[in-house]
Symmetry: C2
Subunit: 531 residues, 2 copies
């Protein structure tokens, strides 16, 4: 397997040259276009990928969990087999440094292995059996068995900011494939070469595992036509998306307007409030300021969980925090942002804050030498201004954050109560802050998918307990997560089998339990401990 980029789309087992407007990646560190160009797909290409996915669906969803686990492992192996060519191309297309991308590749591979383990465990099927009660009065009970099955082919839209972990073979794809759903990816236009390479790794794994070719396709397109055609194709039954609020809401609207509406899991906008409680702030204002800027500027601030809003009580401890943060931020180097468009949007957002009469600029980071480098920015306002001007709480994607000075803890709570839904909410709290923290927790639980103490929200562990989700508009569906094992549930639905003969039951529900999956039998849990 070589890391050669050809500019082709992958439709089932075929590699296909697009016939519409081409996209070209840009190396954001130089501003130069990267070759080759990727001609975009047509409506016919979308229809072909969806037809293949549909043709594959009934077979693929009923493969044994072990077979799907091996497939995910084969994808991981093929991904690693791309070697340094993948890393080099991803670096060129994203401006992200080698270490970060090598780490992200590890995360992507780890994610595939985690879902393989989940498949082998079998609890995700949620098998439930209520045996027949033929003698029950006044009416007998039938034999009732429930399992979860795959929803159908899934459209995945890769994110710009994680060209590996949230893209072609990222979390959405891994969880959908694990659930038994064929996947049609619309590759992100910022990293088509990376997408093609990873797509070929998946395509190779599909073939090596003897699966129907329609299990995976990868399309490109320069406008919204391919994306909308994909979401409105009747054979697509769910959508995974990570990106902007505008983009996510457009997909939600298209999905809802279908004759058969389908779920869209869009991870969109979050400004990730951080609260510095008084005792913690008094005890370590300078360290908090330093660590805050470390989280803020990580990866040029291009994380969904970037800390964009910091609440604290006005006073000398906050002044110390601000001074320390400003000092570190001023000496922070500018960093190449992912795309010229993201850089331009960042500059516009920062300029908007600089021009806001209610926000004061505390510090700017070092100016960059390259064409698309973002320089960090720290602003201050107070809670009254924040309440009066909702524009202050809009996400600026990049290393910009706003410190909100509050009179008292009630004002902190009231300010957070006014925020929209968030991926994360963070408290810095010492023992003496416990009462204040306890008073804030109900609000934070209603606002965010993840609550952190004494840490920083960047860094999202891939595990059973993670929630990378949250109330609207952090996501379009707060009942789910896009990171961690619970993500598989997005692509499943329950089906009940009543008095179905054993020979015709799916294996997970057969009397002999040939898959050995954990089951709930007449209310009681049976089988090996999950994991």
């Amino acid at each position: 397997m070589t890391a050669e980029v050809t500019g082709l789309m992958l439709i089932g087992a075929a590699a296909v040259r697009g016939s519409r407007g081409a996209i070209c990646a840009v190396d954001p560190s130089s501003g130069e276009e990267l070759q080759p160009a990727f001609p975009g797909g047509s409506a016919d290409d979308v229809a072909r990928a969806c037809a293949l996915a549909w043709a594959a669906f009934d077979t693929y969803r009923e493969t044994a969990p072990e077979a799907r686990a091996r497939f995910l492992e084969a994808v991981a192996e093929a991904l690693l087999g791309l070697g340094d060519g993948l890393i080099g191309r991803a670096m060129a297309e994203s401006g992200l440094p080698r270490g970060r991308l090598e780490g992200e590749r590890g995360r992507t591979v780890g994610q595939l292995h985690l879902f393989a383990r989940l498949l082998r465990e079998g609890a995700f099927i949620e098998a439930r059996i209520d045996p027949a009660l033929p003698e029950r009065q006044p009416l007998p009970r039938a034999d009732l068995r429930q399992r979860h099955i795959a929803l159908g082919p899934v459209a995945v839209f890769g994110a710009s900011n994680f060209p590996l972990a949230f893209s072609v073979a990222g979390g959405d794809t891994a969880s959908a494939l694990a659930a038994g759903c064929p996947v049609v990816v619309k590759g992100h236009s910022a990293h088509p070469g990376t997408s093609e390479l990873v797509g070929r790794a998946v395509q190779q794994a599909v073939a090596a595992c003897g699966l129907p070719e329609g299990v995976f396709s990868l399309l490109f397109g320069s406008g919204s036509e391919v994306g909308i055609a994909l979401v409105t194709d009747p054979r697509i039954k769910a959508v995974g998306f990570t990106g902007s609020r505008r983009g996510g809401l457009a997909l939600v609207a298209a999905a809802q307007a279908r004759p058969e509406p389908i779920p869209v899991y869009a991870e969109m906008a979050s400004i990730n409030p951080v609260v510095l409680l008084p005792a913690a702030l008094a005890a370590r204002a300078e360290a908090l300021g330093r660590d805050f800027v470390g989280s803020l500027t990580l990866g040029a601030g291009q994380f969904c969980t970037n800390p964009g809003l910091v609440f604290a009580l006005a006073g000398s401890d906050l002044d110390r925090f601000v001074a320390a943060a400003a000092a570190v931020l001023q000496s922070s180097a500018a960093a190449t942002m992912l795309t010229p468009g993201i850089h331009a949007a960042y500059e516009a957002g920062v300029a908007h804050l600089e021009g806001n009469a209610h926000a004061r600029t505390l510090a700017r980071g070092g100016k960059g030498a390259g064409p698309h480098q973002g320089c960090a920015a720290l602003f201050m306002t107070d809670a009254a201004a924040l309440a009066a001007d909702p524009a202050l709480t809009e996400e600026v994607f990049g290393a910009a954050s706003l410190v909100v000075r509050c009179r008292d803890l009630d004002e902190v709570r009231a300010a957070i109560e006014q925020l929209e839904g968030q991926l994360t909410a963070t408290l810095h709290a010492d023992d003496a802050d416990q009462g204040a923290a306890r008073a804030l927790l109900p609000t934070l639980e209603r606002k965010a998918g993840r609550i952190l103490f004494n840490g920083w929200p960047t860094g999202v562990e891939v595990c059973d307990a993670m929630v990378h989700g949250g109330p609207f508009p952090a996501t379009s569906d707060s009942r789910t997560t896009s990171v961690g094992t619970l993500a598989i549930r997005r692509f499943l639905r329950p089906v009940c089998y009543q008095d179905v003969p054993d020979a015709l039951l799916p294996d997970a529900l057969k009397r002999a339990n040939p898959l050995g999956v954990p089951r709930r039998m007449d209310g009681a849990f049976q089988g090996a401990a999950p994991g």
Copy 2:
């Protein structure tokens, strides 16, 4: 507790006279209006109920599962305490016979007890713990804990056809209250007196259990204003509905158009296909015909799972089935339908089929003597006509069904493939039919929430394994069920706690597990077997 009906709405602990257009129940067996009238609620009434629900939410959602279990049991007890007054009023308002309503009361009470057991078990919280790994390389892992919390106040719209089990204290209310969500019910205009009585039982249980009054409110309204005001109130976070496709889709549209869209669980239209496979049909055509009409005419055909479409191969066995079904149906008595409106819609639907050039009337049931009695109707068509005319597959709510003659099993499969999503799909199959059944199963799994063998879809067991749901338009969300314990999941969302001090963790996630709930610890299942 007396069974006196006063015509008042229940807003928290208060009983409030509405100020808008009044609704009056009609006794469908006589066509006479029942007293008292129920003046409808205003926008202010809706806002007050929602404000109380919101004020109650943070307290109620954090009550111990045991406290909520006792509350549900108190509701059940208060409901039984209404005695025969409740049954009499429900009979007058619905035209349903005593035995049916006594059975339905038992089901309603049983449902509340089932959720009480689910609460005591604790598995619904889905507690997951990934302990910290401070020594992990290259980065330590934080302590991560996940639980599910209540979504927020829920609006429930009662169904006409189950004035107890799918209404004020029915499945939606029981599962939402179990999840920790306050409930605001919009009572169905067909049975306001029944609704008020049951509402008073819930209100009494709220007070007796010392819960915040906003945990439950009950509103009435003659048009769609109260319902739309409820669904668009920013404090409402989810909606449960059982009723017509038009009504359900109006609520979905209103919920999606909110600044913060919310999930709507609408159980809507289903025609519930039944397939008679050749060996089963040959072996017992007459018995199948008889039992089919029994299911079709049960409760005047007013079940969501009524068998509205029967597929079989043309031939003498089908002729025998049809002859037996027609004979039983012709001698079936007309039955009073739930409301004048439902009766009128039934007559219109039947007339539409009678006038359809592609449908032949096989039999009509006996004409009724009362004003709103539906007389059963059986039609026949063939698969080609069904494919050509989608109007033939539209649900006619009531005891009307259409037999579809097919050339071969491929035509059966193709016809079902063209159907919209369904609550149920039924196969009648003998051993010799196993191959045919196996070939149909993948299609049925994609089309329906419940698959039955050798039974009839009317009759929905309340248990762990039940799925009363299915792909659109059977429901607006195929990932859920409105009957059975899984229904609680509709009203929950996951939250992750990262490095939260033990003292501040919710009980379900504390180190010592004071609630004793089953938990997934570092991938392995811990705790008492559920149930």
